[in-house]
């Protein structure tokens, strides 16, 4: 889940040109868009004038298109025009309104919207927005695709020779997109025109990569301008981007006395560095609610640490700043850093505000850098959420920055480990279970439990452990603290798996694994278009020891399953010991990104896994 700079991605930093559309084929779009860099002498700044013209052609009768265009403090809508079948619709009146963005308490995101009715098949709705981007830094990308099919889209960039901008083509492969370049000597501008034909509608699928991976678009890298007798530096290099960020950070006015007092209070009585660092990190995690204000410059500049502390809420920037400030107050070498989560396809090789959407804290400690992301509420120190693993991170370091990467964790960072001892009692399996969770498995459970009303958390956990199956009775549940992020989460309980044993003519047929993870995880190849990204790496180990009833023997066990490749492993085997049968299962998902090309093999392997799950063990009397 992207928390901090969501507003940037959706509204402030990018001119994404993805408007809210019905996700069906009720209409198609043909479009002409132009972006012209101009110099505004009155305000002494370079602006981008946009003319966005879309023609909707309906494929059905009575099609209603909700036309929506976003804007904010950096993007103005200057004019809106609409004609349907060459007439302005009766009562045409665009509405301008605050727009609520997911996970953002308040932002300067606004929308201009109006419904447009296309009465018959072939009706044409012609919509034009004239807009101005007030700062080229915020002009980061232009997309070709929409939620409706695009029959044609022409995108023109009118770039005066005094403007330095790079147009980077992204995800063009497989699409019919042509480029032409013309120099207009009269105006001394270069006109770059891209023409795309027959771009399919965007298809939203769960667990798919972010749009910057999937859809054809142009990254607009505004570097500098020299006009009106002035030099304007945007993001020609990463140094430029860093300098701009650094300016914002320098403007933060922390009340050092308050922070120092709090840091002292948090670390009182602690002697080891690690204990102090943990105390500070876990304090911010546990006590600062995530509430994001992304209003104008607040979308980029962290709030002062003492304000975050006072309010007990903040966004990723505020929480990172508070973490850094508390650590620094205790003498640790802590820094702010910017990064893009895995939702974003870019990195800092293309300096742009589109490349990052998150802020965390970096701590240099004994020659190692530890990254502290307090927005991940239940993750421990030295553990990293999947969404930031391996991501390039820009660390503030005075006049210079450091560029490095968040470590990639292996699947062993996460762990779902269960051991059980069971015996047959009638048609039930009865016994005891111990469970340990680490990493993102632990985070998922703690997050779930802490998002349920306290009086129902026991019930919720029992429901989770029993797989929501009322036949799986859980009793005497003991669980380690659900508020202690630093330690593994563990639980022990007694179980009565009713009806896990089928008895026919004195033979016992036993299903030892009620959970059967991934049994229904085949991917619908004929429906799914995009790669599949797992939420996080999986590391499941289950060991069950079954006591063989007296005078019984193991008559049949399923064949072992061993599937192993670079991306995942499935292992199930049974081992006989005197009077016991041991069931062991290991499931690893080592690579969370599964490309479409691997779906077929994945489905075959899941089928094998399901087959093994759905084979019972057979116990028969020794006499047979």
């Amino acid at each position: 889940m992207i928390k901090c700079f969501t507003a940037l991605c959706l509204c402030l930093a990018t001119v994404y040109c993805v408007k809210a559309r019905p996700a069906d084929s009720s209409a198609t779009i043909s479009s002409k868009q132009s972006y012209q860099f101009v110099y505004n002498a009155k305000f002494n700044r370079v602006e981008v004038k946009e003319v966005l013209n879309d023609v909707y052609t309906s494929n059905n009768y009575a099609v209603k298109i909700p036309v929506v265009e976003g804007y904010n403090d950096q993007v103005t809508i200057d004019e809106v025009k609409c004609k349907v079948d060459n007439h302005t619709p009766d009562g045409f009146k665009p509405v301008y309104s605050y727009y609520s963005v997911d996970d953002v308490f308040y932002s300067d995101a606004r929308i201009c919207y109006f419904p447009m009715s296309l009465p018959k098949i072939g009706s044409k709705g012609n919509v034009t927005f004239n807009e101005t981007i007030l700062d080229p830094r915020y002009f980061t990308s232009v997309y070709f695709s929409e939620s409706l099919p695009v029959t044609s889209r022409e995108i023109s960039f009118i770039v005066p020779r005094w403007m330095k901008v790079e147009l980077k083509e992204m995800n063009f492969g497989g699409f019919n997109i042509k480029k032409s370049t013309v120099y207009n000597s009269k105006d001394d501008v270069d006109v770059f025109t891209y023409t795309a034909q027959n771009i399919p509608a965007n298809k939203r699928e769960e667990n798919s990569p972010g749009p910057s991976y999937l859809y054809p678009h142009i990254m607009v890298l505004c570097k500098s301008a020299n006009t009106g007798g002035h030099n304007f530096t945007y993001f020609a290099t990463l140094d430029d981007q860093y300098n701009w960020y650094k300016t914002l950070v320098k403007e933060i006015k922390n009340n050092d006395a308050i922070i120092a007092a709090k840091a002292k209070d948090l670390t009182a009585g602690l002697t080891s560095d690690m204990d102090k660092i943990k105390a500070i990190f876990y304090f911010v995690q546990d006590n600062i609610r995530y509430i994001a204000f992304e209003n104008g410059i607040a979308g980029f500049k962290p709030e002062s640490a003492d304000e975050v502390l006072r309010k007990k809420y903040g966004d990723c920037k505020g929480m990172a700043n508070l973490t850094r400030s508390l650590l620094k107050a205790q003498g640790y070498d802590a820094h702010l850093c910017w990064l893009g989560t895995d939702h974003i396809a870019y990195d800092y090789s293309t300096p742009s505000m589109a490349v990052d959407n998150h802020m965390i804290c970096a701590l240099n400690y004994k020659g190692k850098t530890i990254f502290l992301d307090a927005t991940e509420t239940y993750i421990g120190l030295n553990e990293y959420a999947e969404r930031i693993q391996g991501r390039q991170v820009l660390i503030e370091n005075g006049d210079k920055y450091l560029l490095t990467r968040i470590p990639m964790a292996s699947a062993t960072q996460n762990f779902d480990y269960e051991t059980s001892k069971l015996a047959v009692v009638g048609t039930a399996l009865v016994g005891s279970v111990s469970h340990v969770w680490k990493g993102e498995d632990k985070e998922e459970i703690l997050s779930g439990l802490n998002n349920i009303k306290k009086e129902r958390s026991d019930e919720a956990l029992i429901r989770y452990l029993s797989n929501s199956n009322n036949d799986n009775e859980i009793k005497d549940l003991n669980i380690s603290s659900i508020y202690n992020t630093d330690a593994d989460l563990s639980a022990s309980y007694k179980v009565n798996f009713k009806n896990a044993v089928s008895v026919f003519s004195k033979a016992y047929y036993i299903d030892l694994d009620p959970k059967k993870e991934f049994v229904n995880s085949a991917i619908k190849i004929d429906e799914r278009k995009h790669d599949y990204w797992f939420d996080y790496k999986t590391n499941i180990t289950k060991e069950t020891e079954l006591t063989i009833p007296a005078n019984y023997k193991v008559s049949a066990v399923p064949a072992p399953l061993n599937i192993s490749n670079a991306d995942y492993e499935f292992h199930i085997n049974y081992e006989s010991k005197p009077g016991k049968l041991i069931y062991k299962k290991i499931i690893l998902v080592k690579n969370t990104h599964m490309p479409v090309a691997k779906f077929d093999q994945w489905n075959k392997d899941v089928e094998q896994l399901a087959k093994t799950y759905n084979e019972n063990i057979t116990l028969k009397p020794i006499s047979e």
Binding site: N60, Y61, A62, V63, K64, S97, Y98, S100, F105, Y106, P119, K120, I121, N287, R289, I291, F293, N295, R310, K311, K312, Y313, N450, N451, I452, K453, K454, E455, R456, E459, N470, D471, K498, N499, S502, F504, S505, Y509, D511, V519, N520, S555, A556, P558, A610, K611, N614, E615, N616, I617, T618
Partner: protein, 743 residues
């Protein structure tokens, strides 16, 4: 103290609405300060509490104290404006004040943000008069830490999500609120309006539930109304009444203090408005309902019901309804007048009902085309349609009654307050009574919706005096209840092992549904054009082209409707797939041969459909043998959650109903079936029954299962009997059969 505040507050707001913007801001700020002083200045003892009882320590949050107070004053004001004469000036002032102990993060999330309409000014001017219509909202919040420190929240930290001079919406994130703290906040709203509308009971109706999501230790409710306002209240399900008094000015004061308000338990098969205490209180200035009550001397607890009934009777004005067109269609459905006269009452009524249905559900508007399948889920307005029906049946000289009823899912008939708190239906007094209910598109002639069955009705026997007045003779009755066999789902499944290693089940399923159990699947599985065709046939309706031959609104509209219908056919497979997934809790594969056998639209008919599909995870292998989860082939029976196992509330069943399954599982060659004796189960008591058994017939094992809920209502004392049956049925889910390899 509060009374003084009310008058002062109103004055201040009144002044502010005429002032300049800066003046407005100052006036607002002054008012906010005054309100804060009043709310927090001298709190009652309950609003000083910070500790919670030990037995509530596991609660997500505990409301330590809550108070709601509302005052309203209305009077006529002479206005030289749009309609020179008198308008109504209403001043309303309410304060909601709550003090909550936050015990977990869920409660912290819930209570840490306030959202409100800060200001809404719809004041208008005309000629020499200003018509004030202003709403201002004031908020205040403070955090009390465990050690006792109080931190008053600076409300200027609010964010205005809308900030126009006349329309402001605000949000406030409460700073420094943590688990373990107490949050004390209030929302105060002031309304002043010069307008004639909005003064009726329906516009000033408060429903106060006396149970809550959280435990409430203290709850205080106060109302104050000036002399010119009439107030009426209903105390439902044992709700404690207000204490009444008057102040020196003659204002009516109503007060209620409660302690330890219980927490609402969301249990299975309950009806909130029937089983939990609530108060419905309304106030009105110059509402005709009061004149009706006074003139007719309606009194007691059902005064509002009597008034609404009286009003309803007065709406029987023929000239106000274009019922003639429908009457002509009914007449034309008979060969001639003689045939019509000779026809029995219920056969004429049946023709009328079919014609009405066609008229109501088979005429579409351009806006409907956007989502034509949604038409299947419409429901008719009962009161309006009963009027038309009564006129037509009277014209046709069909003896009938108008019945007034309240749904089991809402207030009881005695607790009717507003005009739409009850429904209406028609009873035809033929040789056997027949019922006309104007409800959803699949309701049959002579079918009473399950939510009305068993309910008390007011019977109004109409007598036409003239075209604008009907007289009614009133009695009472109770609607009949369909028995379990009339609400039935019958499933036939032919099951065989499938797939390369026989680990899947191939299932051919035929389902027949009757009565109330039919409706949901009918609407989900029938396509809109199938419903249209069925109703057209029954109601002697016209083809689409004829229906819209003279329609001038949109060109080629008939074609558009047909096109919209055709589009839904693309979703047909998904409808069946979704139905199977809902039934079996997993995605089916290879859904084929899905079709409707009988649409079930005709009166008394059964809805029938069939489908074939494959399903995983219902077969386990054990060596050379197969174990089939036979019990799951019914789709599974209800499993009770722990919280539902103990109850003290009566049980409002959806209906008396029954389910029967015949499941035939093919035995592969070379295999024998074992375990069929475990499928034999029988249990019965007065609340219903469950029975199951299995026999081998040729090369198949045939399992039969029947589950019956005998009644649509059970007393709480009988819950253990009902629970016993539920658990017997849910235990059946786990039965298995072994297919053992022979030789």
């Amino acid at each position: 103290m509060r009374r003084l505040l009310l008058i002062t507050a109103c004055t201040l707001v009144y002044t502010a609405s005429f002032g300049q913007s800066e003046k407005d801001k100052r006036a607002y700020a002054e008012q906010a300060t005054k309100i804060q002083t009043d709310v927090w200045g001298s709190p009652s003892a309950e609003f000083k509490v910070t500790a919670i009882p030990a037995n509530l320590s596991k609660e997500s949050a505990v409301v330590l104290a809550r108070s709601f107070s509302l005052s309203r004053a209305s009077s006529g004001k002479l206005k030289f404006g749009r309609a020179i004469g008198i308008t109504t000036r209403t001043t309303k002032f309410s304060i909601f004040h709550e003090r909550v102990k936050i015990n977990d993060k869920t409660a912290l999330d819930e209570f840490s943000t306030l959202q409100y309409q800060k200001k809404l000014d719809k004041t208008t001017s005309q000629l020499f008069a200003k018509f004030v219509d202003v709403n201002n909202t004031f908020i205040g919040a403070k955090v009390i830490k465990p050690a006792g420190k109080e931190i008053i929240v600076n409300t200027s930290e609010e964010i205005l999500t809308k900030n126009e001079s006349k329309d402001q919406k605000g949000k406030l994130a409460i700073p420094d609120l943590q688990v373990g703290d107490v949050l004390d906040y209030y929302i105060c709203r002031q309304d002043i309006a010069d307008k004639d509308e909005g003064n009726l009971y329906k516009d000033n109706d408060n429903i106060l539930s006396l149970v809550d999501e959280y435990p409430v230790l203290y709850y205080s409710i106060d109302f104050q109304f000036n002399k010119k306002i009439k107030v009426r209240a209903i105390y439902a399900n044992g709700a404690k009444p207000f204490e009444e008094s008057h102040n020196a000015e003659g204002d009516l004061l109503l007060s209620l203090k409660l302690t330890n308000v219980p927490k609402y338990k969301g249990q299975l098969w309950t009806s909130g408005y029937r089983q939990y205490p609530y108060i419905e209180i309304g106030s009105a200035y110059d509402d005709p309902t009061d004149k009706i009550i006074e003139k007719n001397h309606f009194d007691g607890k059902t005064a509002m019901l009597q008034a609404r009934k009286y009003n309803f009777e007065k709406t029987f004005v023929e000239r106000a309804f274009p019922y003639f067109m429908l009457l002509d269609k009914v007449k034309n459905a008979f060969k001639d007048k003689k045939s019509l006269r000779a026809a029995s009452a219920d056969s004429v009524a049946k023709v009328f009902y079919a014609t009405w249905k066609y008229d109501t559900f088979c005429h579409y508007l351009p806006n409907d085309l956007q989502d034509l399948p949604a038409m299947k889920y419409r429901a008719a307005n009962s009161q309006g349609n009963v009027l038309n029906a009564c006129f037509i049946l009277t014209a046709l000289k069909i003896d009938h009654d108008v019945l007034l009823v309240a749904s089991r899912n809402t207030n009881s008939l005695d607790n009717v307050f507003n005009a739409d708190d009850f429904d209406a239906l028609i009873r035809i007094n033929g040789s056997v009574p027949a019922y006309l209910c104007f409800d959803d598109v699949v309701t049959h002639f002579n079918e009473i919706p399950a939510r009305f069955q068993g309910e008390k009705v007011i019977v109004l026997h109409p007598k036409r005096r003239n075209d604008h007045e009907y007289d009614f003779t009133e009695t009472e009755d109770v609607l009949p209840v369909a028995n379990a066999s009339q609400n039935n789902i019958n499933e036939q499944l032919n099951v065989s092992l499938a797939g390369a290693d026989l680990k899947k089940l191939k299932i051919e399923r035929t389902v027949k549904e009757k009565g109330s159990l039919r409706h949901d699947d009918q609407k989900d599985l029938l396509l809109a054009d199938e419903i249209d065709a069925g109703i057209v046939e029954m109601g002697n309706g016209e083809t689409m082209e004829k229906r819209y031959k003279y329609y001038t609104g949109v060109k080629k509209f008939a074609e558009q409707v047909t096109g919209a219908f055709a589009k839904e056919h693309n979703d047909k497979e998904k409808y069946y797939s979704d139905e199977i997934k809902a039934k079996f809790s997993q995605e089916p594969q290879k859904v084929t041969n899905f079709k409707i056998i009988n649409s079930g639209l005709n009166a008394g008919s059964t809805f029938e459909y069939t489908e074939s599909f494959e399903m995983d995870n219902l077969v386990k292998k054990a060596g050379n043998n197969y174990i089939i989860d036979a019990g799951k082939l019914t789709g599974g029976f209800l499993k009770l959650d722990e919280k539902d196992k103990v109850r003290d509330k009566d049980i409002y069943m959806p209906s008396a109903r029954s389910f029967s399954y015949t499941i035939s599982i093919a035995i592969p060659a070379g295999y024998a079936v074992k375990g069929i004796e475990e499928l034999t189960k029988n249990k019965a008591n007065k609340t219903g029954s469950f029975s199951a058994g299995a026999v081998v017939k040729g090369n198949a094992v045939v399992i039969t299962v029947t589950r019956v809920y005998s009644n649509n209502f059970e007393k709480a004392a009988d819950w253990p009997l009902l629970k016993d049956l539920i658990e017997t049925a849910s235990d059946f889910d786990s039965v298995k059969l072994l297919l053992e390899k022979q030789g």
